[in-house]
Amino acid sequence: MDYFLHILVMISIYSVLAVSLDLLVGRTGLLSLCHAVFYGIGAYTAALLAGHCGAPFLVGVAAGMVVAGTASLLVSIPSLRLRGDYFVIATFGFQMIFFSVLNNWMLLTRGPLGIAGIPQPDVFGWNVNSNLEFAVLAATFAVFAYVVVGLIVTSPFGRVLHAIREDEVFARACGKNTPRFKVVVFAVSSALPAMAGALYAHYITYVSPTSFTVAESILVLSMVIVGGAGSLRGALVGAVVLVSLPEALRFLGLPMAAAANLRQVLYGALLVVMMIFRPRGLVGKYAFGQ
């Protein structure tokens, strides 16, 4: 039972990541390969605050969201001039710089050793320590992210994002300040994964740079593409499929290393197959990149 609850927690965490990335990739047409940066910022901020200052869980979550939202300006403002694969490569560069900082700034992050002993969360007196309680908390976070992104995409603000995705020049010609919209959506899309990161840190009780590599960013992107970009349901389906499907490999009795590699093969193959046969994903409406 605990195993299934763990899968549920991970699905909820990745749902937050996928739904927030969809806001960028599916709704605005900005393909970002640095989502793990903001996930990592949330995790490390919460871990450092809890470890050094004894800050309560929700303070760590809020601080992580603020730091990630602010850090997103470092990516979004300079990258506004870039389009297409140049934008992707720029976000890729930020991802690599972030990993290098996490791995080498020993005084703050303890480098490859990571930060251990992060306390389990306490939410207004509710001490979350069993997997069932974590599953409830993680599902609450996922619902929150879903509702926030849902409200954004159905608002007039969301319609401008659609316009930017379809034809940015036309949106600008209609008087929309597209750079401002992009910066705001990037900040929102960065704050939500920080929330998931804080939850992850308190759930696993340990964070290290290897959890926030470019592979993690690629995994979240795969979820959005496999499920269907531009669709909230698609992001959820992608998270469910890509978290639960590889778990089936456990039942094949493969060694851990082989199962991990096979999982990566599966993710990569899904990306290629989806691009060739179904760029709109399993349940999406928007044909990615078209």
Binding site: G84, A90, G93, M96, I218
Partner: protein, 290 residues
């Protein structure tokens, strides 16, 4: 020649193989083919497997690398990228598919050969010889000379052979090139196979010089892609940029710390993307900037 200059030349040449071949492919196809890094790994492992057999001479291993990497690239170009182009896939679709290829191939190699570090066979080719104040092995001389030969070959093909005219015509406008009778598909296949083949040779030389892991191609393509962006899509520009990157890394390691080498490369990439996305040799790109 001092050891310092020799090290820069060697590092620059190893990156140069990837940078020159990556930019050759990129200029023709217009997207960042990250899967190109996988051919570096394939080449390196092909050399490793050959070196374990009775045919352990480096020349044989390097030739095998060329044909294995080139052959796999040819199959992938025909089975993945040509069908995608037939469906009018965008550059982002092609980019995501190439990302999938990189993930699949590196994980498959890790699955088949293990993730542990491999060392290629030692022999007279790894023995150092004295050149002025520097000690350099025969295989390192081969890497430097091979990179220069590759550059000369590319220059000759570009400017002295009919192939170069066709290549430049397709780069400029592939619809127009097709309408005047240029076999665009055949040209794309030839460039994919040739670029991957030489990337495989680079991978083999890299593996002879340093240790070999499945992540080799990922690191190689990151540095190669940065050099290609800085060099402005031109193979000559990419070669010079590879040397600049190598010089920067070695100077930084000498003056400060090795651990920030990678970060400095990505900061350089971001500086170029933001200030001069067309590279130092390129012309203004409307598609890259807003």
């Amino acid at each position: 020649m001092s050891q310092f200059a020799c090290n820069i030349l060697l590092s620059g040449s190893l990156v140069g193989f990837v940078a020159v071949t990556f930019s050759l492919y990129y200029r023709l196809n217009g997207f960042f083919h990250l899967g190109h890094g996988a051919f570096v790994t394939v080449g390196a492992y092909a050399a490793y497997v050959t070196s374990l057999s009775s045919l352990r001479h480096p020349a044989v291993a390097i030739a095998v690398s060329f044909f294995v990497a080139g052959g796999i690239a040819l199959v992938l170009e025909a089975c993945v990228f040509l069908p995608l182009r037939r469906r009018a896939a965008s550059e982002l679709n092609l980019f995501v598919a190439s990302l999938g290829i990189l993930v699949v191939m590196e994980s498959a190699i890790s699955l088949c050969c293990g993730a542990d570090t491999k060392v290629l066979s030692r022999g007279w080719w790894t023995e150092p010889m004295i050149m002025g104040e520097a000690r350099i092995s025969y295989i390192q001389v081969a890497a430097i000379a091979g990179n220069l030969l590759l550059l000369m070959l590319v220059a000759m093909l570009m400017y002295l052979a009919p192939f170069g005219r066709s290549y430049r015509a397709v780069c400029a406008d592939h619809h127009l090139a097709r309408s005047i009778g240029i076999a665009v598909t055949r040209l794309r296949l030839a460039v994919a196979a040739g670029a991957a083949g030489f990337a495989g040779v680079g991978g083999a030389l890299w593996a002879y010089d340093q240790d070999l892991t499945p992540a080799l191609g990922f690191r190689a393509i990151l540095l190669g892609a940065v050099a290609a962006v800085i060099g402005g899509k031109s193979p000559v520009g990419a070669f010079v940029a590879a040397m600049i990157i190598a010089a920067m890394q070695h100077v930084l390691a000498l003056a400060w710390a090795v651990k920030w080498q990678d970060m400095s490369v990505f900061i350089l990439l971001l500086v170029f993307l933001l200030l001069r996305p067309q590279g130092y040799l390129g012309r203004h790109l409307r598609a890259a900037t807003g």
